[in-house]
Amino acid sequence: MDKVEYTEAERWLIEPKPGTAAARARDFGVDLSLTVSNLRLTPEERIRQLDKFQSVMRELRKAVVTAKQNAGHRAGTETLR
């Protein structure tokens, strides 16, 4: 995977100076490299990306429920045997 190149402006967030809001966010545990990735997108793209993520999560949740039901069904069948 290619190394991400940051602009001088983006380094304000990636390598924050002490006492800045960026430094406080980093100390709070915010992954500012994700923030920079989002800031490279337009507001529309940011929301579309979240919508896509939500859609994937819906599918994942359905798959987990199905898998659990199938596992329960198999366990029940095995108990009957």
Partner: protein, 167 residues
């Protein structure tokens, strides 16, 4: 589960006067925060409440977390007597706020909101500085991380603006 496109399109379809706030607004401003619901601040004039009630009925909105036997009639009158509502709908959770703590009512939220075109419609997103005020006023532990991130984004935007003015 949240379906952002369908929820936003619902507001556009019924021409509801509202401003997107909360996690989706944070996301629009560049935050990496993941949210599970759509929060909007809505206008409380009669015409808007009528449209809002019709929109909510179309997606079978019910009060989230309320016991099933609590009588709740979804119409403009009910919305007028309340202020902030949390709903479950066919298309996901939806939080409606008549007033945003730290900012004010719809009119204050709509002032200097950013307008973005998405899914073929234009939506109002709460301005970053106001979103920060709202998160500060809410003061919930879950807001603290996103607040820190939003403040960093505001600082980043301010520094960038100053840099571009210097050039």
């Amino acid at each position: 589960m949240l379906d952002i496109e369908r929820e936003l399109k619902l507001f556009a379809e019924y021409k509801i006067d509202c401003v997107v706030i909360g996690g989706i607004a944070a996301r629009a401003h560049g935050s990496s925060y993941e949210t599970n619901d759509l929060d909007v601040c809505y206008a409380r004039d009669s015409a808007n409440l009528d449209k809002l009630a019709a929109a909510l009925a179309s997606v079978h909105a019910s009060l989230r977390g309320a016991p099933k036997d609590i009588p709740f009639r979804l119409n403009a009158e009910t919305l007028r007597h309340g202020l902030n509502f949390t709903f479950d709908t066919d298309i996901g959770p939806l939080d409606l706020l008549g007033e945003v703590r730290g900012v004010g009512f719809y009119e204050e939220c709509a002032k200097d909101c950013i307008r973005i075109e998405m899914f073929g419609e234009v939506f109002c997103i709460l301005a970053l500085a106001k979103l920060i005020l709202a998160k500060r006023a809410a003061g919930r532990p879950k807001d603290m991380a996103v607040l820190a991130e939003l403040e960093a984004i505001l600082e980043f935007e301010t520094v960038n603006k100053l840099r571009s003015e210097d050039k």
